[in-house]
């Protein structure tokens, strides 16, 4: 019934054969082609739309449209490949080769080449061409476009718009285009969570377009007076003012 030392055969076989382990990392490992090792980005086609960073489960990817950078925390990335699935321009890929181990977490930053400057314009519609087919709204990765077929309205939320141009490329009537801004007229916008209501911006404003009240904690912009110079943003000690394209 019970056998005495039945494993001896296997052990002796192992002893007189080559070991199965290798001297990794001195002998590099060969990975199959499907191995999900690390995420690679093609910055030439990347639009910095930020969909990857929004869908990343561990939030390892950061996209900054102001500095034109796409960055990834290699050690936070779990190599799930969801960003690759989500990328509208297919500029992300997940390839073999694991990130090198390191003593500290660091951010890998990729810059968008200067030559391919981003189009910072707005999506505009030519309503005479539009047939309200809603294809643009369906293609929009960030649900910025709302189209109502019955009421014949086409609306875009410019704050939500990522300027990925997916709608422009997919419009069957070529009714959409991204119009480049001339000089770029921008209004200041303050992040009131950070604002300390120091009134410095109001003092620096050459057009006196800003009214800031410390007592009632209000920050108000007179859009008609604003010349969009950006002096307020430049002088804000908290850096809470950003220049955004005018909403209309």
């Amino acid at each position: 019934m019970a056998k005495f030392l039945p494993f001896t055969g296997t052990v002796l076989h192992n002893l007189f054969h080559k070991p199965v382990t290798t001297s990794y990392p001195f002998v590099p490992k060969e990975y199959p082609e499907r191995t999900r090792g690390h995420v690679e980005v093609d910055m030439e086609t990347c639009l910095l739309c930020g969909l990857c960073s929004k869908s990343c489960p561990p939030r390892a990817i950061h996209v900054d449209r102001d500095t034109h950078t796409w960055s990834i925390h290699r050690f936070d990335c779990v190599q799930c490949g969801y960003c690759v699935q989500k990328c509208p321009k297919h500029c992300l890929s997940i390839v073999p080769g694991y990130p090198e181990p390191g003593a500290e977490k660091k951010l890998d930053i990729y810059h968008k080449p200067e030559a391919i400057e981003m189009k910072m314009g707005q999506v505009t519609v030519d309503l005479s061409k539009c047939v309200y087919c809603t294809l643009c709204a369906k293609k929009c990765p960030n649900e910025a476009i709302t189209v109502d077929r019955a009421a014949k309205t086409w609306e875009i939320d410019h704050h939500k718009c990522l300027r990925c141009s997916l709608c422009v490329n997919n419009c069957p009537r070529h009714a959409l285009e991204i119009r480049e801004e001339e000089g770029g007229f921008k209004h200041p916008q303050a992040d009131l969570n950070q604002c300390v209501f120091c009134t410095l911006c109001a003092k620096k404003c050459p057009a006196s377009a800003l009214t800031v009240d410390r007592a009632t904690k209000t920050w108000k912009l007179n859009e008609k007076e604003c010349v969009g110079c950006g002096a307020c943003a430049e002088h804000c000690p908290k850096g809470c003012i950003t220049m955004r394209p005018a909403s209309t």
């Binding site: 019934m1 019970a2 056998k3 005495f4 030392l5 039945p6 494993f7 296997t10 052990v11 192992n14 199965v20 990975y31 199959p32 499907r34 191995t35 999900r36 869908s55 489960p57 779990v78 190599q79 799930c80 490949g81 969801y82 699935q85 997940i94």
Partner: protein
């Protein structure tokens, strides 16, 4: 009565692959009582449904555990698919079944290795893991990951196995059968192994049922219960007969798991024969609304996924009842009256996965 001593067992103990703490009340070397405490690796994954949308949650769900990661991902996907009335293509179902059975193979081989390690048989441990390595290689070739596969999505799977790769896999599994038989002979027949496994940690059929044991722990006590019979994924088309033993000791649990290794090989052969062609995924529109209980048979036993959705992209609630959680009361029962030398073995016979338990 002998003097009682309390030995802290874990959370950091060489025998335990994962942190669980047991206070062992000993009389000499006999365990009178074992008091467990868990919560060392709680990560709050269920709470994440509030932050991640239901598609992203697939990746969170499969990271509940590194050993049955595929089944966690699949269980969650099938639950959501059921709410959304998604008809998953047949090929996707078969691919899921194939990966499920591969997971079971590698999990059981891992367990055999750990068991061998628990009774101090280091070379047997290495040999088991060496065989497991072959399955991990196949996983890496087909899914791109060795333990976390990320091939599930709501509506199907992300990667296909081309026919030539499938043929190659089937051949490798055929070769594995002979190696497995040679390996498992030591577990079942070796004198010293028998000495350690037999008549250790009895769990009667009644105890197993009343304590709510699941999986091999339950089947080793003579209860014929296997959720694969409910026919999720492609199991409905395949012949599955639960592996049952009536003895109820550690040897029986080892026997059941070894039986399941060969059963998995058989299922993989069936999948290979019946693999349909066609798409591997269907597009999914809208957000889920409703609730569903999904049950699936993991290597460690029955896992339950409860999903409730409210029509937004974030789910209301996701709850996972993992098999280890269900097996802990049964484990405590077997520990009572056992020898200290058998404690590692008995903890291992439920195949504990603490990450699963605490999520």
């Amino acid at each position: 009565m002998a003097k009682q001593t309390v030995v802290p067992f874990g959370p950091q103990h060489p025998v335990l692959p994962e942190p669980i703490h047991l206070d062992l009340v000993l009389e000499d070397e006999t365990v009178v009582e074992a008091v467990p405490s868990i919560g060392y690796v709680h990560r709050g994954l269920e709470k994440l449904v509030e932050k991640k949308d239901f598609n992203e949650m697939v990746y969170v769900a499969e990271r509940i555990c590194g050993i049955c990661s595929f089944m966690h991902g699949m269980g969650y996907c099938e639950a959501v698919e059921h709410i959304m009335h998604v008809d998953v293509p047949a090929r996707a179902k078969y691919l899921r079944t194939l990966w499920c059975e591969m997971s079971r193979l590698h999990s059981h081989l891992l367990w055999l290795g750990l068991l061998a390690d628990a009774f101090g048989f280091e070379s047997l441990f290495m040999q088991s893991w060496r065989m497991r390595e072959k399955i991990l290689d196949m996983f890496e070739a087909s899914t791109g990951g060795r333990v976390i596969f990320s091939v599930n999505r709501i509506g199907g799977v992300l990667k296909d196995i081309p026919p030539e790769m499938l043929r190659d896999f089937l051949k490798r599994f055929d070769d594995m059968g002979a190696d497995l038989r040679r390996l498992t002979r030591t577990f079942l027949d070796d004198y010293s192994v028998n000495e350690r496994l037999r008549d250790v940690g009895f769990l009667t059929k009644e105890q197993a049922l009343s304590l709510g044991a699941v999986g091999p722990m339950l089947r080793a006590s003579g209860v014929c219960y296997d959720v694969r019979k409910t026919g999720y994924a492609a199991y409905g088309d395949l012949e599955v007969e639960p592996v049952v033993s009536t003895i109820g000791d550690s040897y029986a649990r080892c026997q059941v798991r070894i039986g399941e290794l060969f059963q998995s090989l058989d299922l993989i052969r069936q999948v290979g024969e019946k693999m349909p062609t066609g798409p591997i995924a269907v597009p999914v529109k809208g957000n889920p609304e409703g609730e569903f209980f999904m049950r699936c048979e993991q290597p460690r036993g029955e896992a339950v996924y409860y999903v409730r959705a409210n029509g937004t992209k974030n789910l209301d609630r996701m709850r996972v009842r993992t098999p280890t959680f269900a097996n802990i009361p049964a484990m405590l029962q077997t520990l009572k009256g056992s020898q200290l030398a058998d404690v590692p073995l008995l903890i291992l016979t439920i195949d504990p996965c603490i990450s699963c338990t605490e999520r």
